[in-house]
Amino acid sequence: MDSKNKIITSDDILGKEAVDPEGEILGIVTKVHIHKETKKLLGMTVDQGFMKPELFIGLHYVKNFGVDAVFLNKVPTDKFRGLDVLTSKGEVIGKVKSVRAKRHRVQEIVVAKRGVLGKDYAVAASDIDVISSSVILKPNYRLKEIEK
């Protein structure tokens, strides 16, 4: 009976909200991925809503499958794409174009600067104060221009 309680079905995962460690609801789980040969569960797809790309979350990112939500153990770095990048004084300098991470830790972000002819700049993780609803840089941040 005990082991029976530990088994869940796809119905217990699909349609649930995926919640990251900061409590942000990333979206709704729409698919589960199973390896054809090994028959193991690989992860799930999260629908992030209108105009946002689908997000694949590997099984190693899942903390536990809850009653109404799936809790994740790490914040997916893909989530940071499109966030506003602000100086410590609140001036918006651009948006996050991409994120370079190593072992799920942000190493560098690429910022697409404001304006039509805006160039791309790299900002090291050491120059970032906060990454949450937007990226806030430290007061003496440095931008490294990226050649296209």
Partner: protein
């Protein structure tokens, strides 16, 4: 933005008044929390004993006073705070440790006017009886609230 003009000055304190921030330039600036959340816009500035006490931030119909000690940076566009105002938790979803949706925060039991709380009152429906959850049972209180234990 207002054009800064040269003006005559009568003051015992040094500094060019044209280079100082004006009251009007602050009104309407975005207010951003420590985490980068949009809190609202500066609606008013409050003074006490001739110095700035803080700003009144408006979002929709709700207003919030933030003491000047919590302002960490100001630019032409925005005012950045050094805190995530605890009042922003009202309306956030609450999950227990089993991932059960408990409802939304309807009210906070606060410690005076400080930026902390003693408990949250969670309601599943507007007219339902709220559940009071102490801060000690809260594991995460950011984008939503996640509790340390499961609730029946």
């Amino acid at each position: 933005m207002l054009k800064k003009r040269r003006m005559n000055s009568i003051s015992t304190k040094p500094g060019d008044p044209g280079a100082m921030d004006s009251f009007r330039s602050w009104i309407g600036k975005k207010v951003i929390s420590k985490s980068g959340d949009f809190i609202g816009k500066v609606h008013d500035i409050r003074f006490s004993k001739k110095s700035i006490s803080g700003i009144v931030v408006m979002k929709n119909i709700s207003s919030l006073f933030i003491g000047q000690e919590f302002i960490s940076g100001v630019s032409n566009e925005a005012v950045v705070l050094s805190i995530d105002p605890v009042t922003m938790l009202v309306g956030k979803k609450v999950f227990d440790s089993d991932g059960k949706d408990m409802g939304k925060v309807s009210r906070l039991v606060r410690k005076g006017n400080s930026n902390s709380f003693e408990a949250v009152v969670v309601k599943r429906k507007v007219y339902s009886k709220g559940i009071k959850i102490p801060k000690s049972d809260v594991e995460v209180s950011k984008k939503s609230i996640i509790l340390k234990k499961s609730y029946e």
